[in-house]
């Protein structure tokens, strides 16, 4: 279920004929979420293709989409900080590539989780700060749901991905991954809600 609800935001956009409207900051992220859902179902579940390639590729796409999102919603504020943080995240990504192998991508996952989560926390806080100063109802702002979703997902999965290498060695390799599933459900639900609000706005 957690996998397939990733396709719903994209379906809403297709229905509203807004899937190609990149003026909306979150559209690229919705695209890669739908892409990830399809790849994980067809590629990983059905065809059993090695997922290490996909996860490394997905990370760079994710970085790009998150940068695009925050770049658009924060507009002229904090642009220097945005570019500086992007440089740090990309540096982290390049370092993670040196630890990548076809057998395991847990170390690159941990490195990227650190940098991407930091990126998301900083700019989510700045966005919330911006929302507090605006004279609008946050419940009617689609971007509020998206930012909240990003913050919750990356916060909840940070510890999991950081300790993934150690967890994989234990008998409890499966249970903590429930965190990823639950966080994914919450995140995708907020993504769906925000996309629905975009429709209404």
């Amino acid at each position: 279920m957690a996998l397939f609800i990733g396709i719903i935001p994209f379906s809403i956009l297709l229905w509203e004929k807004r899937a190609l409207n990149i003026k909306e900051a979150v559209i690229p992220f919705i695209w890669i979420t739908a892409l990830a859902t399809l790849y994980e179902f067809f590629g990983t579940e059905l065809l059993h293709i090695n997922s290490t390639y996909w996860f490394q590729l997905y990370t760079i796409l994710e970085i790009g989409c998150l940068f695009y999102y925050f770049h658009h919603i924060l507009k002229q504020w904090h642009q220097k900080l945005l570019y500086f943080t992007l440089a740090l995240v990309l540096t982290g990504y390049v370092i993670s590539c040196f630890f990548w192998s076809t057998e395991s991508n847990l170390i690159p996952l941990a490195i990227n989780a650190c940098s991407v989560s930091l990126f998301v926390f900083i700019f989510a806080c700045l966005h919330f700060n911006m929302l507090m100063k605006k004279e609008t109802d946050v419940w009617k702002q689609p971007n509020f749901y998206f930012t909240a979703g990003f913050a919750i997902y990356y916060a909840c999965t940070l510890l999991l991905f950081l300790l993934s290498t150690e967890l994989y060695k234990t008998e409890h390799r499966i249970d903590p991954w429930l965190i990823n599933i639950l966080a994914g459900i919450i995140f995708r639900t907020l993504l769906i809600t925000g996309t629905w609000k975009m429709k209404a706005a």
């Binding site: 507090m132 300790l163 008998e171 965190i179």
Partner: protein, 258 residues
Amino acid sequence: MENESSLAGLVWLGTAIIFISVLSVILIVIIHRNRILNIKEQESTAKLNAALDAEKQERFRIASNLHDGVSGDLNAVRNYIAIMSGKFTNPDAIELLAEMEVAIKNAAENIQNISYNLMPPMLESHGLIPTLQSYLARIRKSHNITITEAFTTDPVNIPTPDAYEIYRILQELISNAIEHGKAKHLEMAVTRFKKDMLFMITDDGSKFNIQEKLQNSTGMGLKNISARLLKLKSKLEHTFLDHKNISKIYYHVKDSHS
């Protein structure tokens, strides 16, 4: 084994703490925004009430000046003309004076109407229903329109400030129906509806979507209706049925006898 359980437990606990922290931040944002919005709404309501009170005071002042000043002076002029008519024997002069008297009488009546429309004196002394009846009688005289009335016989305990706002809303709606809707027939009904007073206007004028007009109009009349409804905490429903515009205002009577 124990270490493995501790690690899994640590991950769950740490994640729960982080999740609660992030959730707290989000809740702070929501609560802060709601507080700001409430304060803004209260400020807006206070400004609105101040504007409506200022308008009421100004109307009262102008109505008083017209009635006491201009109207009085015109009556004095009429008296002088009457005295002068008795002193002239020239038929042309007498006819001219008679025309002057008629013109001044008409002007005095117009001034009285304007003064009455600005601030109906009966509202405080007689209450809302008699004021509405008087207003409808004047509308019949001045416009080519038939008006039917149906007023409740139950006592209507509406405080004068609220009665004034309701009167203004009904006046604006009737005025719109006649001037913009070109209505030829109008029905005015005031009845009890559960714990509310229901003021209903039905007219046969052209279709009027008041909700759309209230949101999009730049005119002061409709904006004032919105403002007054907000002040009264009343609601206005409008439908178009069987080629008739039906406007209903529900006013919650605070000290209802029901």
